[in-house]
Symmetry: C2
Subunit: 353 residues, 2 copies
């Protein structure tokens, strides 16, 4: 490791990075999942010229939308514009996005034989466009603004790979788990090893923190999570370059929080279904990210701010709170409410001393 | 009230009814949500001749599929074949089912003006076909087999009425809640009054118990449930004919259980995300229904039975357990596994004395 430069120190001392380490902060840092997205005019203008997947694969554009969102919202962290499913291409699968932006994975993995045809990802070079986007973004961002890299968590990636897209009941995924635990574990291990390389390459390219999106893990019972998911998520988190904070995020995880904590990570992301104070009492010494309902942003501004206030009250000034939504911003969200939210979180949490 | 006949007493003493009252039972009673459904050949044969809505509206056929399921599975209760959305027709809305069986409600209710055009349901006579199906079913069922009537809970009905069908994020529903609490409460009150009449008419026709399906309530935070939903659900449950057990069921309710208990009901239905023993410790003296993951039925028989065993172990022989799935049976479920499940629950829970 090289010695820290001045800009490394600025980043290290930023409110977001301090909160990841549960150190005191001047105000509660805030960023919003999918902050560069369709709800924002600037993003829609870029998308008018290019498809979603092309945008992900064009570093200049990915960096542009990433930075624009940060500047427009005045948030405390950037997250690189990308998609959790990009990793399925090096795994040997064909990825497409439908007109409604829903992902389609061709020839989904349903059997042990299918698992065998998944590639062992020795190199994640084919995702160079992501690292290049990170380098460009890092250069364009203010020197005190951290950039978050990310990937899907093993279960959520597996569910897409097995279902061939989004799902309501995860029948194929759970059937594979239950009927062929061996094949399931090979599948999860192949995904996990690819994710480790991918996350570490993002860190190498300039990401200050990384997030695992386990968006659909809330469909599982505690027993299933413990048996089929926890060891794999843990193996990914343990292999992330030492010193880089890891955020582990999921939705519908009210009964899984302790197990997610066991799987690891410096920050646990929770959704609006759990009271943030309750979650923290259950989780103990870990940072927490969350947890405004994205739909609250469709209300009038007073309601938005009152809800943000409740969340700050629940956090009760405890070190290690990163304000965020409980899931990604929705496409029709009024952008003025998003800007007002960020401002309100900053103002309401400002420490007087 | 007339004096109890012999068959009333037989029903009153059935394992299902005893469990609703938390009285000792010879074995754990079991029935399965959507037990008359597409996974069953006999049902598909009836459906080959008639649409879903026609089936609901033809008492002879509705009774036939209700009774067939009970006989095929050897479950301890029948549930009348119907749909939670039938109530939207007397409310003045047009209901349709798409090719994928998903409901479509035309001209959804989005504003205060829309709420005004919803009918005040003074009479639920237009749902006579449901009561007639109940009468026919009651006549065809063995005299010791209880028949469950049901409706959607106010929130779940409201969400369909506002969204115009199923939803992922409930944006329109929550926006109405947050931006016009007055209109929301009028909407919920109109629905609730209609539901009370409907449930009591089902009881009058011969249902021994009733269930409120609040299938989508798990999208709400605790605060939202308390403020926008609880009083309405409570008003429905309190108005059900005295002496008839009420089951309150929802999915994704891990953080709402105590509030659901506050809303009332003799039995609380929980899904597989919560450990049944934990749920019971939190809920105290109430009967519990659940909680096998419907997808577990896609595994091999040994897995199914092992999962059922775990649930019975969690219930730990406590009086007041009704075995069920955590949500409805899925269309492709292997029927042999369903039959094996019912048999295994009976055998494994049989009291030796």
């Amino acid at each position: 490791m090289s010695e820290r430069s001045d800009s490394d120190l600025e980043l290290y001392d930023s409110p977001f990075m301090r909160a990841c380490r549960r150190e005191p902060v001047p105000y509660t840092p805030v960023w919003l999942m999918r902050q560069a997205g369709r709800y924002m005019r600037e993003y829609r203008e870029v998308r008018a010229r290019t498809s979603f997947l092309e945008l992900c694969k064009t570093p200049e554009l990915a960096a542009e939308v990433t930075v624009t969102a940060v500047e427009r919202l005045n948030v405390d962290a950037a997250i690189i514009f990308a998609d959790i499913l990009l990793i399925v291409e090096p795994l040997g699968l064909r990825l497409e996005f439908g007109k409604d932006e829903g992902p389609i994975i061709h020839d989904p993995i349903r059997t042990a034989e299918d698992v065998d045809r998944l590639h062992e990802v020795e190199s994640v070079e084919s995702l160079n466009y992501v690292y290049e986007a990170i380098r460009l973004t890092r250069r364009a961002l203010s020197s005190n603004l951290p950039l978050i890299g990310f990937c899907g968590a093993p279960f959520t990636i597996a569910s897409y790979i097995v279902e061939g897209g989004g799902s309501r009941n995860y029948v194929h995924t759970k059937r594979l788990m239950y009927t062929d635990a061996g094949a399931w574990n090979v599948l999860m291990s192949k995904i996990s090893r690819a994710l480790v390389r991918y996350l570490n390459a993002q860190i190498e390219a300039g990401a200050q923190a990384v997030q695992l999106f386990d968006s659909w893990v809330g469909c599982l019972s505690q027993d299933d999570y413990r048996k089929y998911v926890l060891p794999h998520t843990r193996s990914v988190i343990e292999s992330v370059t030492h010193g880089t904070p890891v955020i582990q995020f999921g939705t519908g995880t009210a009964t899984l929080l302790e197990l997610m904590r066991e799987a690891g990570g410096d920050v646990i992301g929770v959704d609006w279904r759990v009271d943030l104070g309750d979650a923290w009492r259950r989780l103990g010494d870990v940072a927490i990210m969350g947890n405004l309902d994205p739909v609250a942003l469709f209300a009038n501004r007073d309601h938005v701010i009152a809800q943000a206030r409740k969340i700050l009250d629940s956090a009760n000034g405890r070190d290690g709170h990163i304000f965020n939504l409980g899931h990604g911003i929705l496409p029709e969200t009024p952008v003025d409410n998003v800007i007002a939210l960020v401002e309100a979180v900053h103002e309401m949490s400002l420490k007087s001393n």
